[in-house]
Symmetry: C2
Subunit: 157 residues, 2 copies
Amino acid sequence: MGELRETFDNPATCGLPQALEVMGERWSFLILRAAFNGYVHFEDFSSQLGIARNILSNRLARLVENGVMERKPCEHDRRKVEYRLTEKGYDLLPAMLALRQWGEKYGQNVNPELELVDAEKGEPIAPIAIRAADGRELGWHDLAWKKRGEKGKPDCC
Amino acid sequence: MGELRETFDNPATCGLPQALEVMGERWSFLILRAAFNGYVHFEDFSSQLGIARNILSNRLARLVENGVMERKPCEHDRRKVEYRLTEKGYDLLPAMLALRQWGEKYGQNVNPELELVDAEKGEPIAPIAIRAADGRELGWHDLAWKKRGEKGKPDCC
DNA sequence: TTTACAAGTTGTCATTTGCAACCTGTTTCC
DNA sequence: GGAAACAGGTTGCAAATGACAACTTGTAAA
């Protein structure tokens, strides 16, 4: 991405600009979603997302470059290539689900015939929430910024 | 955004494309972050983010249009305008924190002098996680898609 | 050994971004 | 009351990014 630089290079900044540097481009999250759904080949992503081939190529390369996905030629058919999530990629699941739940809460045309459930019990998962170390759910006004020993709520970044 | 349309209009789709339609553009999340940090005026956003004025104008208008922020002229100084988060905007906090935590976990130059804490106890908040209805933490492989009575793990969208 | 397929790359054109300059409606200061 | 300053924009233009279609390359199947 272009000029998040000023924010990006500031060492006192929070992790959001870094995350956006990697995932903030058009299609990145939808490619990630497809990967979570088991798609691994270039043509699969291409046909499922309807994304232009050069953009897909570019995005996959960027995701690989940033360690979110791994690229390796397929063993049995060396025409094919496999793109798979790394651990770093899997770690984006909470962020993706939080976005998705938000989209579903406020979206217009969303009737998700498919619902994410806890595989063990078959019940829907809980909404993604902010929690204290002891598990209490927290809202924005229950949060504060701490400066390495201090307490209070100064500006973030 | 341009051609997420095919995905967007499909009623069987999940909420992710909707969320990206609103928040997937450059700067949107950083504007949101600034709003969470108490910035309310055009010039505040402008100088904190270093974003071009026309883009800022456009993004704020889009966020207002999509119900994430509210725009109202300032009572006491009618030159000024206040942009404030709506409830819909506040509901993006988990998604934003999940992204931020991911960025901090894997980022290079991040030493967040400021840390988010539970205001009541002063301790750092827990990592944003996926949980079952009963509170158990879940990973990707503990999840399944349910189709309105069925059970299993077919394709998502 | 020809044909088909997967995964790109290249060329062209439309859209989006970034930058600077300008405009308009307050407010402040003298 | 009038001049200067300030907040929040808009406009015009250059540069970067995205979309679409056609072409290339390295396998594999027939």
